[in-house]
């Protein structure tokens, strides 16, 4: 007759299939339920751990919802002024060329107030990674219109929906930076499904490898959600993202490095 077993009998190293990534601190994330930031943070942490980059990584956090990113990843951090992260990263990488330098920025930070810093750092081909979280809204300040807010989309400063005649059009800044000779790898991904999260991880991992080649700026846009700002449940938000955000911001590589030897694009699994 078998002995009765309890949960404690299963907590053994050989049974471990999932754990908190060592690079993630034990601080509780402040994000709203369903927010994509947590997933992207986790992906970044996993990559830094897997690539052994903890002592090499210098992250630049933005102003916006992810302003406290420095509380969650156990690496060195600089907290930039709104929009200025690529300027900080420029100097950090030039002064510490052997380090892994990245920024993490939202749409207001990167594509409105920081447009100049974004475009010029990409145009100079700074050997940095820019991670761009695009959820079409200012989350931290309470759901105002962002440069990437879709036409007709409601926000607290476009309560009747974004009227493009008055408020202009959503800025596809990722498409713009892809045209600049200074960028090496430009891709748009999402984390709204497990499959997409895995693709995002592969994309960021590639960018980390590319930074070692000193070939130019890597730019990874992640189309994300904002259940609170969009006034939706997390499930509704992800459905809305798929039906509305992705047609305007299609996923896939916008610029992929060419294999120098083969003179043809490197095989990419990041195109849908």
């Amino acid at each position: 007759m078998a002995e009765a077993t309890g949960i404690k009998d299963y907590i053994k190293p050989e049974n471990l299939v999932y754990k908190r990534t060592g690079i993630m601190t034990e601080n509780v994330l402040h994000y709203c339920p369903g927010c994509g930031h947590g997933t992207v943070h986790r992906i970044l942490a996993e990559i830094i751990e897997e690539e052994g980059l903890q002592s090499e990584a210098i992250g630049i956090s933005p102003v916006g919802c992810s302003v406290f990113l420095y509380n969650y990843l156990d690496i060195d951090w600089q907290e930039a002024a709104h929009g200025r992260a690529p300027a900080l990263a420029t100097a950090v990488k030039r002064l510490c060329p052997d380090k892994f330098v990245f920024t993490y920025q939202g749409d207001g930070d990167l594509a409105a107030i920081g447009t100049s810093e974004t475009i010029h750092s990409c145009n100079r081909g700074e050997n940095i990674l820019i991670i761009f979280i695009n959820n079409g809204i200012y989350g931290m300040t309470g759901g105002q219109m962002a440069p990437t807010t879709l036409p007709g989309m409601k926000s607290s400063t476009s309560p009747l929906g974004r009227d493009t005649r008055l408020m202009g059009y959503p800025l596809k800044i990722t498409d713009i930076v892809a045209t600049l000779p200074g960028t090496y790898y430009v891709t748009r991904q999402s984390v709204h499904t497990p499959a997409n999260a895995r693709k995002t991880k592969r994309a960021i991992k590639k960018a980390v490898q590319y930074q070692k080649l000193n070939k130019g700026t890597c730019f990874v846009e992640i189309v994300s959600n904002c259940p609170s700002g969009w006034r939706m449940t997390p499930v509704e938000a992800n459905k809305w993202l798929e039906e509305n955000m992705l047609p305007y911001y299609p996923l896939g590589d916008l610029k992929a490095p060419v294999d120098v030897n083969a003179q043809k694009p490197v095989k990419s699994d990041n195109n849908d």
Binding site: S55, Y70, D76, T90, A91, H120
Partner: protein, 349 residues
């Protein structure tokens, strides 16, 4: 060499790690000199022309956060744009050097020399409670000397330092003795963000604290630092102050003019002395107060509408009459004008 060139050469010799700038008259020679000298190939010093003054100061922020000796230079309208970055640097307690080769304002103003950025330099400049350490050179020699001194003070106090110059000193040519070059430092300050080794906790450079009690404690820490600076770092120069019945207070270009005014007035039998503040923050208040009580009147001479005069008034605290004499908009006063103004105050005209 030119004052601007002296700053550039002194920066290379001081072992600076990085310069980030944006062209603006009357200080563009600094970046031109650095690009020509190409220190990257010799000392490894990074020199980069940024896309804006805003980007340049934020590059300085990023470099300073790595514990590097970094600097930027600009002139008045450009310094206004840098104020956001400067307050973040002060709030994150980072060392850096900022040079302002002042031109007349407000707005786009003129490209001629002025001292109208005094308030902005010594009272903070950007938002929030903070101070820069402000050095006021009166010669090309001091333009060069204050680069090394500025970096030393910036690292000693983990505080941004500003050299408050003007278009005259930036553009004038004088003989300079340059310090022998020092190597770029290899020491990494323990607070610097250069990648977290297993041996220490992660370093976070930020000026954000949402807890008001913690923010107030931080503000108090800054006040304590500024008080220590006030106690230890006041620098000034006295010129014929021993028997001065009339005291001139002037810095930078105005001080050079006033030195001549003192000589002219003394020829006419007027016992005039000059106190030249070398540090504008910390301000030599005690020294001015000490001289003012022995004088009949004090005149603050500035190329502005009257800015430093407020600090002179605070220092003198009503014990002696204080007057302001100034020219503005890029106009530089003559020594004779200063003497005439002094005489008018003596006779009560």
């Amino acid at each position: 060499m030119k004052g601007n060139e002296a700053v550039a050469e002194a920066a290379i010799r001081a072992g600076a790690d990085g310069y980030f700038g944006y062209p603006i008259t009357p200080q563009s020679e600094i970046m031109e000199y650095l690009m020509e000298a190409n220190p990257q190939a010799k000392t490894g010093m990074v020199v980069l022309q940024a896309e804006s003054e805003v980007a340049a100061i934020n590059m300085v922020y990023g470099g300073a956060a790595c514990g590097k000796k970094v600097m930027t230079t600009s002139s008045s309208p450009g310094i206004s744009l840098k104020q956001e970055g400067i307050t973040y640097i002060a709030g994150a307690e980072l060392p850096c050097l900022i040079v302002n080769v002042v031109r007349g304002g407000p707005g786009l103003g003129t490209i001629q020399p002025a001292q109208s950025d005094y308030f902005q330099a010594v009272k903070g400049g950007g938002h929030g409670d903070y101070h820069l350490i402000v050095l006021a050179p009166a010669s090309v020699q001091e333009m060069a000397d204050f680069v090394g001194l500025g970096f030393d003070l910036a690292f000693r106090y983990r505080n941004p330092v500003m050299i408050l110059s003007d278009g005259a000193i930036g553009q004038m040519m004088e003989k300079v003795w340059l310090s022998p070059p020092v190597e770029r430092s290899k020491t990494v300050p323990e607070w610097a963000t250069t990648g977290k080794p297993p041996s220490r906790q992660r370093n976070i450079i930020t000026s954000l604290d949402l807890d008001p009690a913690a923010q107030e404690r931080f503000n108090q820490k800054l006040i304590d630092k500024y008080n220590e600076i006030r106690e230890k770092e006041v620098r000034y120069e006295e010129f014929q102050c021993g028997d001065a019945q009339y005291l001139l207070v002037a810095y930078g270009t105005s001080a050079r003019i006033c030195q001549k005014s003192v000589q002219l007035a003394r020829k006419e039998g007027l016992k005039v002395g000059l106190l030249r503040p070398i540090t504008l923050f910390p301000f030599p208040s005690k020294q001015i107060s000490g001289l003012a009580v022995k004088a009949d009147l004090v005149i603050s001479v500035e190329m502005s509408a009257g800015q430093m005069v407020e600090d002179v008034l605070l220092a003198v605290n009503g014990k002696t009459p204080v007057y302001h004499f100034g020219r503005m908009g890029g106009m530089v006063p003559t020594p004779e004008e200063v003497v005439e103004f002094l005489k008018s105050k003596i006779t009560g005209d």
